[in-house]
Amino acid sequence: MWQAFRNQVRDQGIEVVTVGMDTAGAEACRPFIEAALPEHPSLIDEHHQLAQLFGVINIPNSIWIDEQGMIVRPAEAAPAPPSVTVEQRASNLGDMGDIPQRMLEIFGEASKIEVNAPAYEAALRDWLANGADSQFALSADQVIDRSGPRSADAAIGHAHFEMATYLEKAGAHDAAIGHFRQAHELVPENFAYRRQAWSLESAVDGPLARFWQGPAEGSEGEWPYAGDWLSDVREMGAENYYPSFTP
């Protein structure tokens, strides 16, 4: 999705770096990356280092960095320029016959998620044209201030998340769950931490497994987490899924 944008702007002194955040690793990211054919660096982040190092709490998110290596916009929602519709997402899942009710409800909520792609892209192009003079390039103090909260408890929660991803990769799935739960409780603002854990449960089989993100029907008692995608998004309100773009 970002490859086309990169081709348009590559002569303006910018490089795009995409980072697939998934504990399931390179093989889980591979089909998407091979379909996108990126010519820019395309990296794999199994432990969500972007959360600890840059404050990324949801996806898609972006960080803008200037020529001197200074962050000029901290992590924020980053709608892709040619926006992918819910229908395309559904068709990307392949031919599944009848789409289960839960997935229809997830697509319904996802369609209510608000992103201001034109405003974001205009800001990005303004920065490319005007650099430090762009109104969208923030000062160091603004960057730190806008980088999002991190309490002492949240810092502990980040350590639990990394412990969870380590244990998951070591094959200790049951042990990982306890640390994922701690991370969810201590870093409630990090929705990627929730989605990551939910996506590793196999409530259903097949191509929907990682998108189901909740208990199988009739097996609610076996679901190991306090929330699930549909319940949590309904509780927060899909329109609040991303903070609106702030110039």
Binding site: A26, I44, W64, I65, S151, M163, S199
Partner: protein, 114 residues
């Protein structure tokens, strides 16, 4: 960062935490945490360092591993606007360093396949 030993090498610590160890202390950009005593050599006692820097440590005794969490300075996610040298593998396992793009603007985009 994750470690199976409380003795870790300096380069790994710096890369995974984003903190650089300098004579004036542990630094991110121009924000430094004084370290007393200052760590010496390439092998660091990460337990001592974490306590000096206020980094949380989570221990899983069953699996004999420690997770060192990030700082929470000023209750914000970033202690400095200077970008750390994010170092991650690509699809083929080849490591990429963010600092290799110095001199160009960089747009990092985080996504996930789930």
């Amino acid at each position: 960062m994750i470690t199976d030993s409380l003795t870790v090498d300096r380069a790994t610590f710096e890369q995974r935490t984003g903190w650089t160890l300098k004579p004036e202390g542990a630094c991110k950009g121009d924000h430094c945490i004084p370290l007393n005593p200052a760590p010496e050599g390439d092998r660091l006692d990460v337990g001592v360092l974490a306590e000096q820097m206020g980094l949380p440590v989570v221990h899983d005794a069953d699996h004999r591993v420690w997770a060192i969490g990030p700082e929470s300075i000023g209750a914000r996610s970033l202690a400095s606007a200077e970008a750390p040298n994010l170092t991650l593998p690509d699809l083929d396992g080849k490591m990429f360093e963010l600092h290799s793009l110095r001199g160009r603007k960089v747009l990092i985009v985080a996504w996930s396949p789930y």
